[in-house]
Amino acid sequence: MNAQAFFLLQQLGYSSRNEPILGGALIFLIAGASIGYLAFVRKEMKAGPVLKAGSILLLALAMLAYYWPQRPWPH
């Protein structure tokens, strides 16, 4: 089980040329969702525009990493 988990993480952590950056998408998604939760749901954080815009930017980066443009390589 542990070996499988490590294998999965390894797969997620590596993306070759012209491949979607799945690990990056995962990181941006976790960070964006967490900050978005703090910014939009938890009122005690009294989040300013930077925190709110930051969470949206991170979610946009998650989309960009998932749909990474297939740029020819080498250029």
Partner: protein
């Protein structure tokens, strides 16, 4: 009845007029030390800023003009050709994305772990707290180069060689952040925690609902610190990554220099582009950055 006069004599009037020059309380005697101090500061700024200015102007020169004359710093015909070329000919977009992935991951997980650890070390009551804190601080004095080879072997042993996780995991365990957050949480009065506990909060709820909102300034400082550090990371990614598609920006730029020939204009253009996010982060959060330095150095210790 005695009347007190408040009219100043001529001498005091002269001194007062000197004192109000420029809105500052400056007398003739204290002017020279200030002038000397400012001269030293301006010279220091010039020493530190001039390489950046040289790099920027050189990146605007055509390749043939770069080493034509050492005295011609400002280009005669400035061009953005190097910026366009390095973007088109090198996979700069992918390297920027890799750097963003790594920096975001490091910042997010550092904040998560360091706030938890700092809270536990500041407000937790458990056996071995001071020993744990001493061990955390002790890791600050170990030079990172010492552990590079064991870490390289360890990462390859668990199959994380050439992955984002291998780069991030080293920087996430950040003793400086733990120390900084602990110093901040030490300043929070215990009465707040007691009040929250009386209202029915458990330890985790106190952390999320009371401590985290209060720690926003410290979190902002740590974010800027960690981002700047993670964005500039070079040695560990250079060692653990061996695929050009996985390089962070700093490693990619360094490897633009070849053994026989180097495109210095493109290299400097890439370096200027690499410095932009850090400069922007610093300029946007300059006040926060300064507060963070004061916080990490001036907090209450135990």
């Amino acid at each position: 009845m005695v009347t007190l006069t408040t009219e100043p004599d001529n001498e005091s009037l002269e001194l007062e007029s000197e004192a109000r020059v420029g809105g500052y309380a400056v007398s003739k005697r204290s002017r020279w030390p200030k002038i000397i101090a400012h001269a030293i500061l301006i010279l220091s700024v010039f020493v530190f800023v001039s390489p950046f200015i040289w790099a920027f102007f050189t990146s605007l020169k055509p390749e043939a003009e770069i080493f034509a004359s050492i005295y011609q710093i400002i280009p005669t015909e400035p061009t953005f050709e190097n910026y366009a070329k390095v973007w088109v000919e090198q996979p700069l977009d992918r390297w920027v994305m890799n750097s963003l992935v790594i920096s975001t991951g490091i910042v997010f997980f550092t904040l998560l772990l360091d706030t938890m650890a700092g809270y536990a070390l500041a407000k937790g009551r458990f056996r071995g707290r001071s020993v744990t804190f001493t061990l955390v601080i002790g890791t600050l004095v170990i030079p990172p180069q010492v552990v590079l080879v064991p870490l390289f072997i360890e990462m390859n042993w668990i199959g994380w060689g050439n992955t984002y996780w291998a780069i991030m995991v080293l920087f996430i365990a950040n003793p400086f952040g733990t120390f900084m957050m602990r110093q901040f949480f030490m300043t929070v009065p215990d009465s707040l925690i007691d009040a929250a506990r009386m209202d029915g909060c458990n330890t985790f709820q106190i952390y999320t609902r009371i401590m985290l909102p209060m720690a926003k300034p410290a979190l902002a400082s740590l974010t800027v610190f960690t981002f700047i550090f993670a964005w500039g990371a070079f040695l560990w990614p250079l060692i653990i990554i061996n695929d050009g598609a996985m390089f962070p920006l700093q490693v990619g730029i360094a490897l633009l220099t070849g053994p026989y020939t180097s495109q210095w204009g493109q290299l400097l253009a890439a370096a200027i582009m690499a410095a932009l996010p850090v400069l922007t982060a610093y300029l946007l959060a300059q006040k926060t950055f300064m507060e963070g330095i004061a916080l990490s150095g001036g907090g209450k210790g135990q």
